[in-house]
Amino acid sequence: MEKLTVLDPTAETLPSHRPSAPRLQDLTGRVVALVDISKPRGDVFLDRIESILLARGIEVLRFTKPTHTRPAPADLRHEITTRSTAVIQALAD
């Protein structure tokens, strides 16, 4: 029986498996970035998280994506990764 040969319709890229960063055991002495992706009510969620973290003496930075419909700009990603050691992001509404 003849074997059928076809052409790969995909971009032929293997998914890049990047290991997750080590999980933090606690937030003491860390700077936590709170990222609002600009979806409705994300600020409500992050305001509450911020008040809880501040009450525990943890430093917090707030960031906002210009729009939830596009990937975060490279500069914003760079700022978040260089200025903070943990990220909490408010995703969907």
Partner: protein, 479 residues
């Protein structure tokens, strides 16, 4: 095979001209000038000539690029030189140096098409003997006992429906639909941001069921998909419903048989069905957007299978969508809109444009949410019965757009969060200002549908503008 110096004549018994020329062939074979006959379909032809080369696998004809039988080629130093095709007696007499050749035969006969050019044959010969474009895609060989359809489902290449196996022969045939090089990059496709070459588009077009003549439309649609304003990343990833809605304008739509009339959004037309499907397969296979992974649509939409149609231009009272968007009149173009629908609006009683506009506006009020305004988009598919009313009243698309925008300019007290008993709405406080639901650049019209039926369809959009998706129009390259 190595060709001896002298002459080669490629013939076939199937060719009526070749059969008529048998007396000339016998004369040339017998006069010692070194003629080798190559027969495409019968090594016993020409009758009465010995040493005929059997080319029933067409390898030699393919390598010699024969397009017509008979073709006579001079061979010098083993290399093909001058050739003549068909039958012109004086030309043959001069070519072979045989004055008075075949006195009883007519002076002229047209040749026949070479068997190498029969439908489906060039692709098969290109795969077997070379000569086709170089294809870069990985070859995947299925097991002899493996069902190819199950194999393609298992690899995640399909939208849930069976696809046509993209064999090299089929991809070669598909690439015949464009002059663009197979390795030309058409665009970078999100969300994986991978290059889509003409070849990858052709592979997916084969799978979707496209014919080669649809490929220029698919390529233009891929260009639109990759254009930054369309924001294919967001369209793919959003929880919203939208998929790529393909509108085709211009002569190509008629030439490839697209449906712009009855059931234009429905099944049954190969071009409509497969062009939209090819684009979505490219989103999936090249862009890497798959439901449940990057595609996070809450409920999804059939648009993500396929949605492509042509504008009914031949009796439209209006400028076409493409012309309105800057494509020169008479040109072909693809317009891509991130949308879903259509939602039908029935109006069988209006006899004038004012009443009909109110009906359409009432339907358009609910796009996204009845209180949404600003970055809201819609493509209104106006059926001929409705369009005739506007046309008779002298309303062009611009007039209709303006009237609808005016009707849907609403005090923000009606739109603010909490108004009407709905928490959804514009951010408080309301100031009493009037807010237009649609901006002119986000409200478009296309004439489509069968001659009977007093209803039009609203193809609603996603977030409109720079924070969402903007309609993109790309002229179709046909040469």
């Amino acid at each position: 095979m190595e060709l001896p110096d002298g002459y080669v004549i490629i013939v076939s018994r199937e060719c009526e001209t070749c059969r008529e020329l048998v007396p000339a062939f016998r004369e040339l074979a017998g006069n010692g000038i070194g003629v080798v006959f190559v027969s495409q379909d019968d090594a016993g032809f020409p009758d009465g000539v010995s040493g005929v080369v059997d080319d029933s696998d067409l390898e030699l004809s393919w390598r010699l690029a024969v397009e017509v039988t008979p073709t006579a080629i001079r061979i010098e130093g083993g290399v093909p030189g001058r050739r003549i095709i068909g039958w012109r007696k004086s030309e043959w007499a001069e070519f072979f140096g045989v004055p008075g050749l075949a006195p009883d035969l007519p002076d002229h006969r047209p040749g026949c098409g070479s068997l190498t050019l029969l439908p489906g044959v060039p692709e098969r010969l290109a795969v077997r003997y070379g000569g086709g474009p170089v294809l870069a895609s990985r070859r995947i060989e299925f097991g002899a006992m493996e069902d190819e359809h199950e194999a393609m489902f298992a690899r995640g290449w399909t939208d849930g429906l069976p696809v046509v196996p993209p064999t090299m022969e089929r991809v070669y045939a598909m690439l015949g639909g464009t002059r663009r090089a197979a390795d030309e990059v058409i665009g970078i496709i999100p969300p994986d941001y991978r290059e889509c070459t003409v070849e990858k588009a052709a592979v997916n077009a084969v799978m979707a069921g496209c014919r080669p003549e649809y490929l220029p439309v698919v390529l233009a649609a891929v260009q639109a998909l990759a254009a930054e304003p369309f924001n294919a990343h967001g369209v793919a990833a959003t929880t919203w419903y939208s998929g790529p809605v393909v509108v085709v304008n211009g002569p190509i739509a008629t030439r490839i048989g697209m449906n712009s009339e009855h059931n234009a959004f429905g099944p049954g037309n190969r071009a409509n069905a497969s062009i939209g499907r090819a684009l979505n397969l490219i989103v999936r296979n090249v862009g890497g957007s798959r439901p449940g992974e990057v595609d996070r649509s809450t409920q999804g939409h059939p648009t993500k299978y396929t949605m492509a149609f042509a504008e009914r231009e031949y009796d439209s009272p209006w400028t076409s969508l493409a012309t309105e968007r800057g494509v020169p009149q008479g040109g072909s173009a693809v317009t891509l809109f991130a949308g879903q629908g259509p939602t039908p609006i029935s109006d069988q009683k209006s006899r004038g444009p004012d009443s009909l506009t109110h009906s359409l506006a009432a339907g358009l009020r609910t796009v996204r949410h009845s209180k949404a305004a600003g970055p809201v988009a819609a493509l209104v598919a106006v059926a001929p019965e409705h369009a005739r009313i506007f046309g008779a009243a002298g309303w062009d698309k611009e007039r209709l757009r303006g009237e609808i925008i005016d009707l849907l300019s609403i005090p923000d007290t009606e739109l603010v969060a909490g108004a009407g008993g709905m928490d959804e709405g514009l951010a408080a406080p309301a100031t009493g200002a009037v807010v237009a639901k649609f901006k002119p650049e986000n409200l478009w019209f296309v004439h489509v549908g069968g001659g009977a039926g007093g209803s039009s369809g609203i193809i609603s959009g996603w977030v409109a503008g720079p924070k969402g998706s903007t309609m993109v129009t790309i002229p179709i390259e046909e040469d």
